[in-house]
Each structure stands twice: as structure tokens, then as C-alpha cells.
């Protein structure tokens, strides 16, 4: 098992290298195809000054040469300077904003699991009763209600009316509460529905009937036997969801004025901040690859029938 696990991880890491190179290449050329450039603005710059700026960043060279130079730096781990935020490197900007998004995302995920899992389990155990309909109805509302509605609603209640929390910012631990609640409740709704579905499927199976027949209590049946199988779809969902959560949410970060990665992600594209676009895309790709790997390992541990390949 140990050896096969190590081989599995190593293979996946080796596979990741060409994937990342392809992503970097595609992104490099795609951002260049977009009209406009990092230095176009409402006020026209005189021709000679435009040339000076382009020469400064090497934009006067042929695109192929620029690509090779960029990839050369990339292989040394250098994502280059941001074109928009003069004086900051892409690595620095990601390094500053990722911890914020990670904190927010992790906390939101905790809320999502703490609310979603029990709700899904209870709904499945009390199928077609009020204990099923009410949480599942709320979950449906949670999925349908976008975060840009939920966020301001929570602000209205907890900040404007009750005055418990600041409506925006990222300056004290209190500022974590409302945004992670907004994000967390949204994911909680998905998790609840997935858990319920998984549980229902598992609860009807023979091995659980056997467990019950042998006199195991409901608690024991649920926690020891059912949950393991029921969580498979949830775990599959958690991988990409976690990557999405910790790489930041543009909407949440804008509503709550949080210095996370999500704003960089979107603004980089609007600003045609080429290096920043590639940097954030690559970073996101690494996160997805890493978390998918983690999901595969966890799933193999949960389900003895699946094998690491």
C-alpha cells in the first residue's frame, strides 16, 4: 500500500508538469489575443512614449522571443512583475492575497461542513418528514440565492441593524464572520443535498440491513457504516469546491472589501495585466491539481473497492 501510494503520487506529480506548461503557453498567447494592452488608457499616450514603455518591458521584441523569455523566467519560478501594479511582483501579490483567501475559504468550508453534513444526514434518516423538507427547502433557497444577495442581507441584519460586525474590511477576527458565513451557507446547501442523496442510496443496501439486524444502534449504523459510503459524492465535490473557495471569490471580496486573490484574478484580465493573468491562472491550476490528487487519495481510503491507479 505504502509503495503503491508513493508511486501514485509521483506519477500524478510528473503528469502535472506538462499540464502546467500547456496551461502557461495557452494563457500566454490567449491574453495577447485580447484587444487592448496593459498600457492603453482613456488619455492617449504620445507615440514615442508608448514605444518607450513597450521597450522597457520588452514588448518591442517578436512574440516568440517574448514567450521564450517568459517561459525561461517561469521555469526559474519567477512570474515576473505586474504591469498594472508597478513595483510589485506577481509572486508577491499572490503571496499577500492567498493567505487571506485561504483563511476565508477554510473557515467557510468549516461552516459548510458543520451545517451541510448534519442537515443532509438528518434529512435522509427522516425521509419525507418535516425534518427532511425544511432543511432541504432551505438548501434549495441557499443554492438559488446568489452570494451577492446573501452578503448584503447578512450585512443589513448583523451590521446595519444590530451593529455587531463591520460591514466591510479585513482588519480584525470579526471581519471573518460575515463573509465566511455568506460563502459557507452557499456551499452548505450543496453539501446537504449531496449528503442526503448519498445517505439514501447507502441506507437501502444489504450490508446496512445486516448491521441493523445484528442489533447495531442507529448512531452506530450511521457513523460507522453508512457515512463512509455516503460521503463519496461529497468528497468528489469537495476537491474542486475547496480549490474554488480558497482561490478567492471576486463577488465576496468586492462586497466585503477583502484583499483576497479573487479580485486579482478578475482585475488582471480587465487590466490586461499579462503576467498577473498567467500567474493567477497557473496558481489556480496548481491548486486544482493538488486538491484532485488529495480527493483521489481520500476516496481510495473511504472505498476499499477503488484502487489508486
Amino acid at each position: 500500500m505504502q509503495a503503491s501510494l508513493a508511486r501514485f503520487i509521483l506519477t500524478r506529480l510528473l503528469q502535472a508538469v506538462p499540464v502546467l506548461l500547456i496551461i502557461a503557453t495557452l494563457t500566454f498567447f490567449m491574453v495577447r489575443l485580447a484587444p487592448g494592452g496593459p498600457f492603453s488608457g482613456e488619455k492617449k499616450i504620445p507615440e514615442e512614449i508608448q514605444r518607450n514603455i513597450e521597450a522597457h518591458y520588452g514588448f518591442d521584441k517578436p512574440l516568440g522571443e517574448q514567450y521564450l523569455r517568459y517561459m525561461g523566467h517561469l521555469l526559474q519560478g519567477d512570474l515576473g512583475p505586474s504591469f498594472k501594479y508597478v513595483g510589485w511582483d506577481v509572486t508577491e501579490l499572490i503571496g499577500q492575497s492567498f493567505p487571506v483567501s485561504l483563511q476565508l475559504g477554510a473557515f467557510a468550508m468549516l461552516i459548510a461542513l458543520a451545517v451541510g453534513l448534519p442537515a443532509g444526514v438528518i434529512a435522509a434518516l427522516r425521509k419525507n418528514t418535516a425534518a427532511d423538507y425544511i432543511p432541504m427547502g432551505l438548501a434549495m433557497v441557499g443554492i438559488c440565492l446568489p452570494t451577492f444577495v446573501m452578503g448584503p442581507l447578512l450585512i443589513l441584519l448583523f451590521s446595519s441593524k444590530l451593529g455587531w460586525f463591520s460591514p466591510m474590511g479585513w482588519y480584525s477576527w470579526r471581519d471573518l464572520v460575515l463573509p465566511s458565513l455568506t460563502l459557507g451557507l452557499y456551499y452548505a446547501a450543496y453539501i446537504a443535498r449531496l449528503t442526503r442523496g448519498g445517505m439514501l442510496e447507502v441506507l437501502g443496501q444489504d450490508y446496512l440491513r445486516t448491521a441493523r439486524a445484528k442489533g447495531a444502534s442507529t448512531t452506530r449504523v450511521v457513523f460507522r457504516h453508512a457515512l463512509r459510503g455516503a460521503l463519496q459524492p461529497v468528497v468528489a465535490f469537495l476537491g474542486p469546491a475547496m480549490a474554488g473557495l480558497i482561490s478567492g471569490s471576486f463577488v465576496i471580496e468586492t462586497i466585503f472589501f477583502i484583499p483576497g486573490l479573487g479580485r486579482h484574478f478578475v482585475n488582471a484580465a480587465f487590466n490586461r495585466d499579462y503576467t498577473m493573468v498567467i500567474g493567477t491562472v497557473l496558481f489556480y491550476a496548481v491548486l486544482i491539481l493538488a486538491l484532485n490528487l488529495l480527493v483521489d487519495i481520500v476516496q481510495a481510503a473511504l472505498n476499499p473497492r477503488s484502487r489508486l491507479e
Binding site: 504620445p46 522597457h56 512583475p81 444590530l162 455587531w164 472589501f257 483576497g260 480587465f270
Partner: protein, 541 residues
Amino acid sequence: MNRAWCRAFTSAGLLLFAVSCHRPLTHVESGGRDQVLHLGNGTEPQGLDPHIVTGVPEHNILSALLEGLVTEDPRTLEVRPGVAESWTLSPDRRVYTFRLRRTARWSNGDALTAHDFAYSFRRILNPALGAQYAYMLHVLRGARAFNKGKAGAGWEGVGVEVLDDHTLRLTLENATPHFLELLNHYSFWPVHPGTLERFGAFAKRGTPWTRPGNFVGNGAFELREWRVNSRIEVAPNPHYWDASNVALKGICFYPIDSADTEERAYRAGFIHRTQTVPIHRIDDLRRRRPGEIRFETYLGTYFYRLNITKKPLDDARVRRALALAVDRAALVSNITRGGQQPAFHFCPPGTGGFTAPSGLKFDVVEARRLIAEYLSATGQARVPPIEILYNTSESHKVIAEAIQGMWRDQLGLDVKLLNQEWKVYLDSVTQTNYFTSRAGWIGDYNDPNTFLDMWLTGGGNNNTGWSSARYDELIRKAAATDDTAARLRCFHEAEEILAREVPVVPLYFYVNVTLRHPTVQGWHPNVLDHHPYQHVRLQAP
């Protein structure tokens, strides 16, 4: 199980109770005691290198950190002594000699001399730096050639001379009546040579010399903290020559780009002043916070460019008809709703003491007559369809829809709307690939020239294909003369030409709608929205 739940609920309840009881003072409540001003500041600044950045949020921060040869009166924007305590002007009005004050210091205690200004001007004009606003300095003799990197155009040829440590002489290409106003632009502000050399930043963009701990400035404040997308904090500079008259103990700038978030921050007492107000909140705020919502004239014009290389806009009759058929009063009272002023000429009224003649009006009868005349002269049955181009934004969209309706209903034109993302839109406009496109222009300095020189033949921001020899002559003449009355006559005639030929349809003059707390004292509305912070103080609420 049950007991565990009870415990969990009790502790959660206690936690919520604790949270609700302990409410720290808001920034506004503690402002009178702390003297720390908290400002909404639009977007994250592009940087803090005055020779690289271009924008209003950057100006707002840099004006705390740096000071030029002159400063401005917080009410009238008239030029006041800054680092230079006095200056003289030669009879041909081309040579300025500045006396720098001996008490001027950098924030690290170094003496600030005329050499530092020469170093700074040389840096921004150095072609290798690629500074966008270098063209602001092209008024200096020989500066343009040097900035272009022309062979044989050395620094010696540029009209910047250091006579001694405290005397700086600047020679201009032409007499430039608004030269002293230009000096208030950050492209003319000094940078600390020692610091730049330490980071090799003389000809290099993007070095970390602008970070807290590295930045050395000469303004009333020094850089304390910079968290990207979160906050920039400045504290008083003890070496500032007028430090004893600075009341504020600090300023925090917040790059809040969402107007809704900014308004919530204001209502929560987090910031003293917003940069803007969401349109849909204006009516409510007028009722609830009448003393705090402010409508202040701003040096800017909202207008539509007409592409005169495309039919039917190649005909001046059609262009004028379009301009006459817009009901601007309805536009500002029903759509923009921020107290904007309808624009019947291009340059905002009162710019540098100049108010243009109103060559346009709302006159549907005349507009229809012009269209009929155009149709019969060209033998067409219908005016060819046109398209309004605007960049993605809710407010541009509603204005475009209103104008579309007016042109369709009043003139029977077939008008389509085309929406493009910002950079794509910029590309379309600079390539003159549109029929009519929305635009806005904010003055760089308080003089009609900053608005009217746009429409020179082949001007970088013209983008309409329009050209008039007489217009060019008038603007050139205005730049070369120093007789104020004669200058204003030139601008007057230039505006008349614009109203007759209509390469652009002015719609309204900007108004800054902001929220400002009454505890902020010494903050005066002015057309450039410049507020020298050394005059600001906070009162207890």
C-alpha cells in the same frame, strides 16, 4: 447528547452576547481625538512612483507624500508657494527663476535642493523610463527632443538649470500662461535621488523604492503602511517645512472599488468621505443625510464623439441635428440625477475663468429641419443607421438608451447600441472604428486648454477624424499669447466652431457626488477635487 447540545447553545449565545456588547468606537467617532482621517479612494493605486502612475487615486495619496515647487489654495486652487518660497518671471514670460526655501527637507532629514528637482525632471524625461506623463514636461525647452531620445538631444539642451543649491531656473519652449498650475501635477514633483540610486530606480520601473520604509518624500506626510487592496496609511512627516501647522496625525486611504460597499462603509462610520455614491442611493441619502451628501462641480465633461469618417456623420447637418435633439435637462434630472449641469458647449463653465458661449440648445424643430435638408440634398429616403458605442457600465448604458430613444423619437433615426468591455472599447475608439461613442474628459489643470486642445488636427485624443485649420490656428494662438483677454477670445471662437461643426456632442458637466462627514474641517469643494491635507482637521462629532 442533550446536555452537550445545551452547552453548545449556551456558549454560542454567550459568544454572540459578548460580540454585541463590545463595540469599539468607529473611525468617525474617534476622529476628533485621534485626528486620523479615513478616506475612500476608488481603486488600488497603480503604484506610488510619481513618474510612473497616472490617475486620481494615485494623486490623492501622492499629494500627502510629496510637494512640488508650488502648492495650491485649498479653496480657489490659486498657486501658493510650496518648496519654492518665491519666483520671478522674465519679461518674455519664458524663464522662471525659483527660490527654494532653505528649510525644505526630505522625510529622512536630508536637505532638499534645486539639484533634486533637476534630477527628478531628468528622470521622468529619460526615454528609458517610459514615463506616460513625461509629456506634461514637454513645455520645457528641449524636453520633447530629449524625451524622444533624439540623437544629439542631450540633457544640456533642456531648459532646467541649477544656479545654486536653492535657485532653480526653468526655461520654456513658449510662454505658457498655465505653467505654474502645471507644477501642481505630480509629474513635476521631486523624488529623492539617494533612495532612487539605492534601488537603481533612475531608469527602471517597478523597483521597491516606493514601499513603506524605503519611500522618502518631502510632503506633509510620510508612508507608514501599504497593504494591497486593503489600506495605505500615512503619518505626519516631522521634517516637513510647515510641520507645525499640520493638524492631522494620519490619513488612511481605502481602495474600495464598489460604490455600494463604500457607501456602507461610510454609514458604519468607517470612513469620513466617499469617493462616489451609487446612483440608486442618491434620492434616499438626500432625504436621510441632507448635510452629508455633497454635489460639487468637477472639472469634467461627459460627451459623445461622432466619427466624421462614417456616413451619415460626415455631414455637419446630421451632426448638429443629433446635438440639438438631445434633451439634456431631462437626461440629468431623470437619468443621472446627481445634479449634473446640462452641457451646451464643451469646456466646463468657469474653467480658468473662461465660460464658453452656448452654441447648442434643445431644438427639435431645427433638428428635424436639418435632417430634412440633408435628406433632400443627398437624395436619400432615410438617414443611414448609426450605432452608439459605450463601455460596460450600468450608468453609460442607461444614458445611451435615453439618447437612443431621443434620436429615434425626435428624428426618426435607426439607432443601435453596442456595448464593449473597457479595453476593447478603447481600441475601437483609438482606431476610429465606431459611429458615435461615449466619452468623458477630466481636466488635467484648471485651464480651457486642457479641454480644447483635444480637437487639434491629429491630436492623440481627437479620434473623430475631424479637423479644422481655423480651429488649430486658434488653439496655437491661445498657447502662444500671454494677453489673457486675447486668449479667451481664441477659446471663445474655437467653441463656436465646435458648436457649428459638432465633432462631439457635449451632454453634461460632471458633478462629484460624495458623502463627507461634517466633522471634516478645512476641506473645500473645488473643480479639481484637490484637498491639500495640511489644511484639514477633524472635529469631535
